[in-house]
């Protein structure tokens, strides 16, 4: 998994990262490369800089500073020498590489008629290392049924609390039919290539054997396409919020398709304040809300609630295994 990340780093930086202690490498979450500024590596807990000798330090002055040449080489390696292939990605500001890792890009933006045309002089890279954690959702499975019927699920969580990881694992479990479940057809609409992490249409994460993925497709449109063409039992969509997303959810639910989705928010009240979501909540579309936090590390499940926001079961505030 990790060697894919190393593959897009220019030799000078690759050697530094490779020389880090294994215990550090295994916990790396982000590698941040900024032209002429300290090379930074981040784990779940801390952020540190890397010295030219490959040691970790908290002192930015001692750190290795990637040169202009490093950045240029890195862009060449990411794009395979073909920027024109990354046109869409440069507009969105990130690239998904093999292995499902994502690289955020920053630099000089070229604007045309008020819209971002592409990025020039890319000088900032944020390599986010993807680690799939199979089994994150195991403990939640029993709560997602009501009288033997599967429910529509909304995962509520602030950023970086593992909602995408959780959603991906749910897709995998239902698609594979793990945990004694009946296997189901799963359709993922992956607008930001985050859930399945597709490269050329092929999911880089394990999303299950019965899963179809629409990569880079706008959510509302994608959900309709899925319903029309792939007849899924479950639709999995990340981060709904716009009005058309809400309408598509209604369409799906009325067509008898179950919807698993997520929303940004610290609490259920916060979600209810947002127009589209509050409408969905009032109509009782979702009968299971899963609230996540980072209280005991990413992926802490604060609770599972039903359509009238009553706590379901006696789920201890438990940290899921990740």
């Amino acid at each position: 998994m990790f060697h894919r990340v190393l593959g897009v780093l220019p030799l000078s930086i690759r050697n530094l990262i490779e020389s880090l202690p294994t215990s550090e490498k295994d916990r790396l979450e982000e590698i941040r490369i900024r032209q002429d500024r300290p090379l930074e590596v981040m784990t779940t807990e801390t952020s540190r800089f890397v010295t030219p000798k490959g040691r970790l330090t908290r002192e930015p002055r001692e750190a290795y500073r990637p040169s202009r040449e490093d950045c240029r080489k890195m862009l060449n390696l990411i794009s395979n020498h073909s920027l024109y292939v990354l046109e869409e990605e440069l507009k969105r500001g990130y690239v998904t590489i093999e292995g499902g890792h994502r690289i955020g890009l920053a630099g000089k933006v070229v604007v045309e008629e008020g819209r971002v045309k592409h990025l020039r002089d890319v000088t900032g890279f944020n390599v986010r290392i993807a680690r799939q954690i199979p089994g994150v959702a195991d403990a939640l499975i029993p709560y997602l049924f009501h009288g033997g019927r599967m429910e529509n699920v909304l995962i509520v969580s602030p950023p970086q609390c593992g909602k995408t990881t959780l959603l991906r694992d749910l897709a995998r479990i239902f698609s594979a039919g793990d945990k004694g479940l009946r296997p189901r057809k799963v359709g993922i609409v992956d607008e930001r290539s985050e859930l399945a992490g597709c490269v050329q249409g092929i999911p880089q994460h394990d999303v299950g054997p019965r899963t179809d993925v629409l990569d880079g497709c706008p959510k509302a449109e994608g959900m309709m396409m899925m319903i029309r063409s792939m007849s899924p039992d479950i639709l999995v969509v990340d981060e709904i919020g716009r009005r058309e997303d809400g309408e598509a959810v209604y369409e799906a639910v009325h067509a008898g398709v179950h919807v698993f989705t997520t929303a940004h928010g610290r609490s259920l009240e916060e979600v209810c304040r947002r127009p589209t979501l509050s409408q969905l909540a009032r109509d009782g579309v979702f009968n299971r809300y899963i609230l996540l936090s980072r209280r005991r590390g990413p992926g802490t499940v604060e609770g599972v609630f039903d359509r009238s926001f009553r706590r379901v079961g006696r789920m201890e505030v438990a940290r899921s295994p990740c």
């Binding site: 030799l11 080489k73 395979n80 020498h81 073909s82 024109y84 292939v85 046109e87 592409h118």
Partner: protein, 172 residues
């Protein structure tokens, strides 16, 4: 008797040299045309297939005949192994290494090296424009090459034979 054998040998070798030179004149426009064809393949790859340069070059190397195939496969090798060195460097090296093995001359080499300067550096529209421009430039060179072929191909062949004949007469 020995004289006769010597004369035949001299005549034979000069004629052969003449033919080889003529062949170069005949090969040049053909190879330029081949280059043009491979660039139109690249154009299609960029506009419809959105393949990366590495993939597109590999594909061309498989489809085209020598020596164009070698040019592209060499470039692919450099792109993949030179640790993110700029596309232009890889391309230039490949062009300069393959050129001596072709019948092509400096003008078309300049066109191809220039082509590398913009390779992979801009958006699709711009890339396509450059490919088209290069194809047009190659076409001009091909015309020149054809003109030269008309003028010199036959001449080389005759000249080789005649030069041999002259030598034989002088020596006898």
């Amino acid at each position: 008797m020995l004289k006769l054998i010597g004369a035949v040998l001299v005549l034979f070798s000069t004629t052969l040299t003449g033919f080889r030179m003529a062949r170069r004149y005949a090969e040049r426009p053909r190879q330029i045309r081949q280059l043009r064809q491979s660039l139109s393949l690249l154009e299609t790859d960029i506009s419809y297939g959105s393949r990366t340069l590495v993939d597109a070059f590999g594909f061309i190397a498989k489809r085209e005949r020598e020596p164009v195939a070698t040019l592209f496969s060499t470039c692919v090798r450099y792109l993949e192994t030179l640790d993110g060195a700029s596309t232009y460097q890889c391309w230039k090296r490949a062009v300069e290494e393959t050129w001596p093995h072709t019948a092509m001359k400096t003008p078309e080499r300049e066109v191809m090296v220039d082509f590398g300067k913009n390779l992979g550096l801009s958006d699709r529209q711009d890339q396509l424009q450059h490919v088209r421009m290069t194809i047009a430039n190659l076409e001009v060179e091909e015309h020149h090459a054809r003109d030269e072929q008309m003028r010199y191909e036959k001449m080389c062949k005759t000249l080789g034979f005649l030069a041999g004949a002259l030598l034989v007469i002088l020596m006898i």
